[in-house]
């Protein structure tokens, strides 16, 4: 693996994950190019979320490896053997990948602004002033500048998720992971979060997105990955995959999900 301009930003090779006897991911290979938006879709339990969590080593793959910008992620290689990284090194690597959770996971004891600025202050050692200026800028970007001094419990779900996105962006990530970012939201709040994600996509952020919003996936992604039973079944451009799925399993999944709004 060497770093070249054409190397994919993220590369997964032979990634497997098992929880005890339960095999959740089987031999996943996936590349994501710089600036590319890739959506992961599939039935629940298909391994999408685990795959996402393997990218930043929230879950350690049982086999296989993750490369970011051509560099081995979350592990080091010594004499041909792969060893886990020390805590501090893993933390430094993780800081370059943003992640947005289904359940937001905002820090309840911190205000919106503190949530966004704590990473830059404690991890990147920026001055408080600098970090808060950046934090305000990002809160403004997600439309929540006026909520800067509000604690998470006083925010709606959609607002919380937008703060969580700002928190991730504050680390100036090379890649953003979205794990069902809108699944826990009331239907009328989904739009505001999708708008922020859309804006990020336009700005050229590399994004790996687990979602159930098929319309959004078709609109935003460069490629869509369909997963089932821990394997990648089909990868294709969004229009091809949604309109002309090749595999029977993709077809039956899509027809089940999209039965109310048929294409063609």
């Amino acid at each position: 693996m060497q770093t070249t301009a054409t190397a994919p930003l993220v590369q997964l090779t032979g990634v497997c994950k098992a929880f005890g006897p339960l095999r959740v991911l089987e031999d996943i290979d996936l590349d994501v190019a710089r600036g590319e938006k890739v959506c992961l879709i599939g039935p629940s339990g298909s391994g999408k979320t685990t795959l996402l969590r393997c990218v930043n080593h929230l879950e350690q793959p049982t086999a296989g490896h993750v490369y970011v910008e051509g560099k081995l992620f979350g592990e080091r290689q010594v004499n041909g053997r792969y060893l886990p990284l020390r805590d501090a090194e893993l933390a430094r690597m993780r800081s370059t990948i943003g992640m947005v959770f289904q359940t937001f996971n905002l820090f309840p004891h911190l205000t919106a602004l503190q949530n966004v600025s704590i990473g830059p202050v404690k991890v990147l050692r920026q001055s408080r002033g600098e970090a808060e200026a950046l934090g305000l800028e990002l809160l403004a970007k997600v439309g929540l500048a006026e909520k800067r001094n509000v604690y998470p419990e006083q925010l709606s779900g959609g607002q919380r998720q937008r703060v969580a996105i700002a928190r991730a962006l504050a680390m100036r990530p090379r890649l953003m992971l979205f794990d069902e970012a809108t699944s826990a939201l009331d239907p009328e709040l989904v739009g505001e979060v999708l708008n922020v994600m859309r804006q990020l996509a336009i700005e050229g952020m590399t994004m790996l997105i687990v979602t159930h919003e098929m319309g959004f996936a078709e609109e935003i992604s460069d490629r869509v990955v369909f997963m089932d039973k821990g394997r990648i079944v089909e990868v294709n451009g969004p229009h091809e995959l949604f309109r002309r799925p090749q595999h029977a399993r993709t077809q039956s999944f899509l027809s089940a999900v999209l039965q109310k709004k048929p294409f063609q």
Partner: protein, 219 residues
């Protein structure tokens, strides 16, 4: 010589209030000892180092298995045979503190594990190390969760100082025993000492209930 109950109470009360001061001092010293020892034990148990965690676990299990009184007796009556003679007050502070440390460490541990797993993960994704995650994310939230049980522990400790009278440490219950053997009026004297304990503990108890109610509502 007093003849009516109010006169008796007026004779006893100043002495008992002075002794209650000792009770409070003993409780405060033992409390500080216990919350520090408890934090050390809890962090040792969560450290992931087997020997450290095992030692802490053994301490907690052994101490929690035996009565506090046994520890006090060992420290006060047992240590002199090893050439260590402690004044009763100090022996009580050490004994109650060592005993409390085991309980407090369990409270901390429960508080730390009550913080949602997602909090740890969110901290990890913005690049915090385990130490930073513990310090900036987990502990501030755990502190809120453990406050009511720590308050309950403090109430229990305030009352448990009475046990120190059994090794002759000068505090409220010992004073009450002395007075009752002097005046032969145990009912009145022990009820009075009970009332003094109540006056000291009731505000704490009200505080704990307030905290519990506030925490149940959310932040």
């Amino acid at each position: 010589m007093p003849t009516t109950l109010p006169q008796y109470v007026a004779t006893w009360l100043p002495e008992m209030i002075a002794a209650a001061g000792n009770t409070l001092r003993m409780a405060v010293f033992a409390f500080v000892f216990a919350i520090c020892l408890g934090l050390v034990l809890a962090l040792a148990r969560l450290s992931g180092r087997r020997i450290l965690a095992g030692a802490a676990l053994t301490y907690v299990e052994v101490i929690r298995g035996a009565p506090a009184l046994a520890l006090l007796f060992l420290i006060y009556f047992g240590l002199p045979s090893l050439g260590i003679v402690l004044p009763a007050f100090l022996a009580a502070v050490i004994g109650l503190g060592m005993n409390g440390g085991a309980y407090v460490s369990e409270i901390y541990r429960a508080g730390i594990s009550a913080v949602d797993r997602g909090q740890r993960e969110a901290a990890q994704t913005i690049g915090m190390t385990s130490g930073q995650t513990m310090r900036y994310i987990i502990l501030p939230q755990a502190a809120r969760i453990v406050l009511p049980p720590i308050g309950n522990y403090a109430i229990g400790l305030l009352k448990d100082t009475s046990v120190a009278s059994l090794i002759g440490a000068s505090e409220l219950t010992l004073r009450a025993r002395d007075l009752s053997s002097e005046y032969f009026m145990p009912m009145q004297i022990y009820l009075l000492s009970g009332a003094i304990y109540f006056v000291m503990a009731a505000p704490l108890s009200a505080g704990v209930r307030y905290l519990e109610r506030r925490l149940r509502r959310g932040r």
